[in-house]
């Protein structure tokens, strides 16, 4: 895919940060409002897909290698499964235990008065971040590789 006209590129650059922030907001508030790691990740990935469409996949691949993005995805997946493994190290150990809940530290509070308190839900927000990172990287690399491959193959014909 070659790059599109200047109008498209400018509007893409303008709207990109807003979509990015909205996606990150959805990821961060996954345990309070509708949304979560997958949904927010998909929003951010769609912003990145917009960049690929506007600037062309070659432009993107020149700046970031698909190997590194897929490494980022591995990191997200490792964070997620390590959070599950950490459940084994606490009292009453179980794989996938929500070990952070009900302690005074980060994300540890338990509220029952329906207030929108972001400092709750234990391991869920952490898992949301891990999954969010994974989904952003995963969908981005899928779109990037498919776009680049179809362009490269057309060139060969």
């Amino acid at each position: 895919m070659t790059e599109m006209s200047k109008v498209v590129r400018t509007i893409t650059s303008l709207s990109f940060p807003f979509i990015l922030i909205y996606g990150l907001y959805v990821i961060a508030h996954g345990h309070l409002t509708p949304g979560g790691g997958f949904q927010g990740g998909a929003i951010v990935a769609s912003a990145l897909a917009m960049i690929i469409v506007a600037f062309g996949s070659k432009w993107v691949l020149d700046r970031i290698k698909e190997k590194n993005i897929s490494l980022l995805e591995s990191v997200g997946a490792i964070c997620f499964i390590l959070l599950a493994f950490f459940g084994l190290t606490y009292a009453d150990p179980v794989f996938f235990k929500n070990f952070v809940v009900d302690n005074p530290y980060l994300f540890g509070q338990v509220v029952t008065d329906n207030a929108a308190n972001i400092n709750t839900a234990g391991v869920i927000p952490l898992m949301n971040f891990a999954v969010g990172l994974k989904v952003i990287a995963g969908l981005f690399v899928i779109v990037l590789v498919l776009a680049y491959a179809s362009t490269a193959m057309e060139g060969k014909k």
């Binding site: 997200g76 996938f96 709750t120 839900a121 869920i124 898992m127 999954v131 690399v141 590789v145 490269a152």
Partner: protein, 91 residues
């Protein structure tokens, strides 16, 4: 009529009958007879997980293992796509 069309027609007709019957016999929309499991989750999710969003508490806590599988599937797809296009990417 080649072989594929004939086998396909038989297969399609069987599935058609099954799905139409299944849809006719399903309970009316919105009228749920059994909801033990979900009611337990709705009642307990705030105390047990601390999350106000019951869906998220199901996704990451009660059925967290499914989510691990789901994340794995995305990982698998990425690995598969890169594997398939490895020659195109590294020319």
């Amino acid at each position: 009529m080649d072989k594929r069309t004939i086998i396909g027609s038989i297969f399609f007709t069987i599935v058609l009958v099954f799905i139409l019957f299944a849809m006719l016999m399903t309970h009316p929309f919105g009228d749920i007879s059994e909801s033990d499991m979900d009611d337990t989750i709705i009642e307990n999710c705030q105390e047990e997980t601390g999350a106000n969003n019951a869906v998220t508490s199901v996704v990451f806590d009660y059925r967290g293992f499914d989510t691990l599988g789901e994340a794995t599937i995305l990982f698998t797809a990425v690995a598969g796509v890169i594997l398939i296009f490895r020659r195109v990417l590294h020319d």
